[in-house]
Symmetry: C2
Subunit: 348 residues, 2 copies
Amino acid sequence: MSDTRRRSASAVPTIRDVAQLAGVSIGTASKALNGTGQLRPETRARVMASAQQLSFRPNDLAHSLHRGQSFTVGVISNDSFGRFGMPIVEGLEECLSDSRISVFMCNATDDPQREARHVESLLGKRVDGIVVTGRRADRREPLRVAVAGLPVIYAFSQTDAPDALCLLPDDEGAAFLAADHLIRLGRRRIAHVTGPERFEAVRLRRAGYQEALAQAGVADDAAPVLTGEWSEAWGRDALQRLFDADRAAPDAIFCGNDQIARGVIDGLRERGVTVPDDVSVVGFDNWRIIAEATRPPLTTIDMNLKELGREAGRRLIELIAGKRHTGVHRLPCSLVVRASCGAPQPPT
Amino acid sequence: MSDTRRRSASAVPTIRDVAQLAGVSIGTASKALNGTGQLRPETRARVMASAQQLSFRPNDLAHSLHRGQSFTVGVISNDSFGRFGMPIVEGLEECLSDSRISVFMCNATDDPQREARHVESLLGKRVDGIVVTGRRADRREPLRVAVAGLPVIYAFSQTDAPDALCLLPDDEGAAFLAADHLIRLGRRRIAHVTGPERFEAVRLRRAGYQEALAQAGVADDAAPVLTGEWSEAWGRDALQRLFDADRAAPDAIFCGNDQIARGVIDGLRERGVTVPDDVSVVGFDNWRIIAEATRPPLTTIDMNLKELGREAGRRLIELIAGKRHTGVHRLPCSLVVRASCGAPQPPT
DNA sequence: GTGAAAGCGCTAACAA
DNA sequence: TTGTTAGCGCTTTCAC
């Protein structure tokens, strides 16, 4: 044990070693290294040189202990860092690392017990804040942190606690964007094929879509909404229903995600319907592996999740600095135009 | 500042507070809380009760400072935690969190400067070890850590440093598995459609595939290899070439990844060739979003990356404990059987 | 301009 | 069985 300590102590120089080598006191060395206080330039230089020579690296643990701030935050994910959690964490980490804050990664996989253990561990590590991220399927219980005043942000996740800060994509605005794009392209019979009703995202996207159609004066029966699974198979299935129905076939289809859109496009091709000439298709997610592989490539909504992660980072930094943020914030999404909608054309 | 300190000091109780409330000394409280030394049960209970009451949580920073071990490790990824990095990190985190080790997440995105900054930061945090993970496209430079004896593991990443420990999937064995499966199914004209030659994985997979065919006595001209991009489009393209060529069409196709396989399957369907009756198809990666969406669902290789992450965690723990590990280790992959190969049938 | 020393929260060795 | 204290590495106030 003392063996271990001894070894690491000899391997990693402390400020004491630097001071000694430079022939100054520890206090002086500290001032020199941190650029604080008044020091003779020559002394400062000597200390810096010694530090360099020993490749001295200050011990953040000691610094944090003293400072009462650890410059670390924790991320608790329930998405196993999957499709959605990943870019968020990426943006978050990018933003925080610019402020020299490190990120602890915790995967709870929807197991409350695991989550609790991770929170405990993060509190032990004295993190300066916690970001909770998830699959957004539904509101979750607020994170049980027993420490008053510890900043917590819900990113792509939501809770009802009144003072919680939640960051989410603006699904409604995004859907409006998509539908509006189709309208501007001259489409007037715009169907919506989407996922299970129980997802708040499904309800919001439908609302945005319907709002856009209403503004354009599109009648309800020219705007059928089909809900099903988030899968290609459902996209193909829904397409059959749309084209086998009694009413006129749609000239555009706004899909709840890219997988559905892919199924729809495949279905159209197999029916001999041309995309985008006969029917325009818009997806949702900009999951590039899919959106770039459809034939033709898919125009779709990007939720800008990396930017959402960055925003979470910025907000967290502000919370740590003592600012207060609460409420649910919806961040803008954008439309990524590829070939599945065709060029603008006059209204039919 | 001292304001901040004061606040957090009052919010988070220290062992001193616990000791005071229990009416014992700090040393006694420490023994009680850590279960060390000899204590009267009643005293121990009193301390525990006080700790409970104050919801005391030991400060790991102080503990680490004293102990010279931080119980944290860093992960440096160059994959932006994408398709491959993600499950590895997941397995790693799962394994390490069982040993109460926390994971710092760093994304370097192939920028050596960012990587260096992250290493610096991790060293400052006195991590007990570092895991490097990447896209495995090629050997990388060894991680420049200026600290002697700091354990480093390369997971899904590789370097030439002789004492480095690298964990990789056994591509060759996996390809053998795939090709052997096709042979056992009675296939004898087995094509291989794969990615760019510059990937070591491509070369290894080809070798495994050819080894299996050689063992089965399949002639070279019944085993064409086509290299191209890692894309669906290439899969479709390659399929045309295979079927438009002079030689007999293949009765099985082993693909370098699932995207290619999807292109191949789509191409086959569009030609009216039935999978698996006429042609069996095997993919590689078990990227479920693709493998489960092909028609029929895709039999494919799973690289067991999560398990690779776990293994990295176990090895890292051993390295930290002082054990030595070096060399390149190839971990077994497995075949996930779905519907794209058909049931076994006698050799034709 | 520089040095000495207290203290961040905890553990472990030594005293009592 | 319990208390006291030195020290982990660093910063910062206060003397000199």
